[in-house]
């Protein structure tokens, strides 16, 4: 009887050990499942990519200096990243292309492993941003004070001069969107003014709309270009890009950033508890299982 009770107690304790009631998040910088180096080709489109949040002097550089890619079939891959460099990674919305810097800016076709450098060469600088257009025809690359839009089918490039502090936010169906913030004394109660600019693939300015500077930090632009979602500490603000006014706000506890729109009414957001999809029509949210340990989620989340 005593032996049976002891065994029962041990079994309960073993269950307690292996099933924590409050599961701790994975260790920073450690992929949640074994990843293999993407040497040739992925088995399918990539769902999302991220750079591990590593502490440089603690975590293993071998694990940290990688881009982690998670396929739609759940398989994990990694691409090498230059040690100590924080260059960007872009994934095309269909999950078949990746753009990143090696010595040059390259585009890798993930399904056949072919890597092509972008030419003419695009110089690098801090704060580079890379973004594929929704139809995967164009790649927008902001480097320093220059925005280069490359036509991936013809190889044609259009270069546009931008401000050094301009922020590239995303693509609409018509063009790439960036914001320019500058000191201004014209708006009561504000120190800055922000303009949102949409630039077509040929480098022409399609429109320029003033928007609230305090909502311009991290915008996700809707595919139709009519609305921008901006993350506030209290929730998601929706800015009408026709008028430039904030029209609605949706409560999302622990909101950190708006990642991107997943269609006409859904916005993928990152919160302190992970990723959520916010239905902006109804205000409802549901979890989106994506890279809980990511520092930066790249594109390609469908």
């Amino acid at each position: 009887m005593r032996t049976a009770l002891s065994l029962l107690l041990l079994l309960a304790a073993a269950y307690w050990v292996i099933t924590p009631a409050d599961t701790a998040p994975p260790e920073l910088g450690v992929p949640t499942a074994p990843a293999t180096k993407l040497t040739t080709q992925a088995t399918g489109p990539i769902e999302y990519g991220y750079r591990p949040a590593c502490q440089g002097d603690i975590d293993d550089p071998k694990t940290c200096d990688r881009w982690h890619l998670v396929g739609r079939d759940g398989r994990r891959w990694w691409l090498p990243r230059k040690t100590g460099e924080s260059g960007p990674l872009a994934l095309s919305p269909d999950g078949t292309l990746a753009a990143y810097h090696t010595d040059d800016l390259v585009i890798r076709r993930l399904l056949d492993g072919k890597t092509t450098p972008v030419t003419p060469r695009i110089s690098r600088s801090d704060g580079d941003t890379l973004l594929f257009s929704p139809d995967v025809r164009f790649l927008g690359a902001r480097s320093g004070k220059r925005l280069t839009i490359t036509d991936l089918t013809s190889g044609a490039q259009h270069r546009v001069k931008v401000g050094g502090d301009d922020v590239l936010h995303g693509w609409t169906a018509k063009g790439v969107v960036l914001t320019t913030t500058r000191p201004s004394d014209k708006i009561p109660g504000h120190l800055w003014a922000t303009d949102l600019t949409e630039i077509g693939p040929d480098g022409t300015t399609l429109r320029r709309v003033p928007i609230p500077s305090n909502l311009a930090d991290h915008l996700a632009i809707s595919p139709d270009g009519r609305t921008a979602a901006s993350a506030m500490s209290s929730g998601l603000a929706l800015v009408d890009l026709t008028t430039g006014k904030a029209t609605r706000s949706l409560a999302v506890p622990g909101l950190r950033s708006a990642v991107r729109w997943l269609g006409a009414d859904r916005v993928l957001v990152r919160t302190t508890d992970g990723h959520l999809v916010v239905d902006v029509a109804t205000g409802t949210t549901h979890p989106r299982n994506a890279a809980p340990d990511s520092l930066l989620v790249a594109e390609a989340l469908s």
Binding site: L9, P183, I187, P188, G189, H190, L191, P212, L215
Partner: protein, 572 residues
Amino acid sequence: MGLELLLVIPGAAFLYIWLATDNRVSPQRLGAFATRQRLPIVPANGNLVIAYLRRTRMWRASGLAAGLTVSILGAALLRGTFGLHSFWLTTGWFAGVLLGELRATRTSGLTETSRPARGRGFALTRSPRLTRPRPIALAGIRLLSPAVSIFRSMSLAFAAVLIGRTVWDSFHGRVAPAERLWTFAALVVALAVTHLHSRLVRRPIAEETAERVAAEIAIRSRSAQVLATGGGVVMVWLALRGGSPVHLVGALLFGVPYPLIALYIGTRPFLADRAAEPWLPRVLAASAAAALMILFTLPETPASTQAVPIQDGSFTFPVVHAKTVTDVTTADSGRRTRHLWWVLSSATSKEPIYRAEGTAPLAVSGDGRRVAFTDRTTRKLVSLELGSGKTREYDGSSPVFSADSRHLAFLTPRGLHLVDLGSGHSVESPGLARIIGLDQDLVVATTHPREAAGAADTELVTLDHRGRVLTRVPFDPTLHAWLVPGGKRLLVLTPGVLVTMDPATGAVLDRKPIKSPNDLFEVPQVLGWKDPDHALIRISDDELHLLNMKSGKVRKLDTVAPADAVFAKVPE
């Protein structure tokens, strides 16, 4: 590091092989056993004891060598240092003890493998079902000395409380997987020790000569003593690794004294006899141990708040600043308590002039005669008049005094409260959530709290002291803004730019770069004012600077102050 490993690893390997294979039992060791167990060694029982010592030596030494290896390799691989950790040595040795005892159940000389007789009555009971050799039930024989018996009960109680605390914590917060594993290991050791002790007591002995039966009882007593003392130490150490918050006294007790006590009482001479083992001392000891461990693991209780003038009110006003200091007191019981004090400093006194328990006050009035703080016990917002000691209590937070100390504004979930400290009369302005500043006849506030980044517009509101709203304008809630004395301007700071703004219209009045000797990566914080053109600011750490709002120049002050210091008057 590599050289140490080259020397230590072969050494550990040699030690392991030597200890595990050396079959000699020295006369001294045999003598020590005879002394400890008060057993006369005679030819009839000598071999029995020698076989026991040989077997236990092999297992315990193997465990010790394994612990030694883990300790050295762990330190070398994880920290790149050379280390001999008593935890691993002891745990390894005790793992050998456990394995040796488990093996002993099958191999010891006088063990009868048939089922033991039940019951607690002490007798060399003969089983009528068996022929030769006949089993003898040991139930009732006292295998443990009284001291070890009490130590065992206390260890089990200590471990039980620690294990229970960790399990409790796991349902109310996070317990790391490693801490769960240590707790599980502690439970395994506790159960193994209990189980093996029970088997030592209950396993029958074949009926043989009196000398050999006495030797077998002595052997079991030795095993039980080692299990109780070594197991007690190891189970508590393992349970301590479960992450329970144990006060310093507790940690010190279990670090060195506990194993030394175990070693001492476990090696004292003791003769296993037929005396009944009294249960009352064990129960009392276990209860006391459990209570002690609960005390050790309780969170430190905050002390009550009581403001105490240090210098009997003879100090000189105005107060310069208030800050938090920490000291640690040790009670007669040895328990250490950390105290938080806030102290007030005067412009004319080097020593603090006033102190009270708790964290720093939230605000000091401009004339230095009033402070506002949160009472740690009641959680009320307290306004304290330093000269008279008079206090007023409010339900609120974020207090701000007017420069003339006549008014106090604070926030509640409903809005802003403005109190006339002379008459005690107060007015409420609903819907306000941030106080920008308070002047002689003006209150400036916003309708939403300050936001770190990314926030929709709030409203900048000015009110008079009767709570009447004078103006409302849109306002960027991410701005760091302070009301300049005089009430005509807001000072808005960014990491490199100084801006003044009209609080009534929100219009930018002036904008100039901050000329600082330090690079500004963060927004400087305004702590107080010397005059309407000079703000006391903190740029980083403890350093204080004076910002000239006309020129934008920043001058470093000699005074330093901790992060939570609040100021009534700018120090010079």
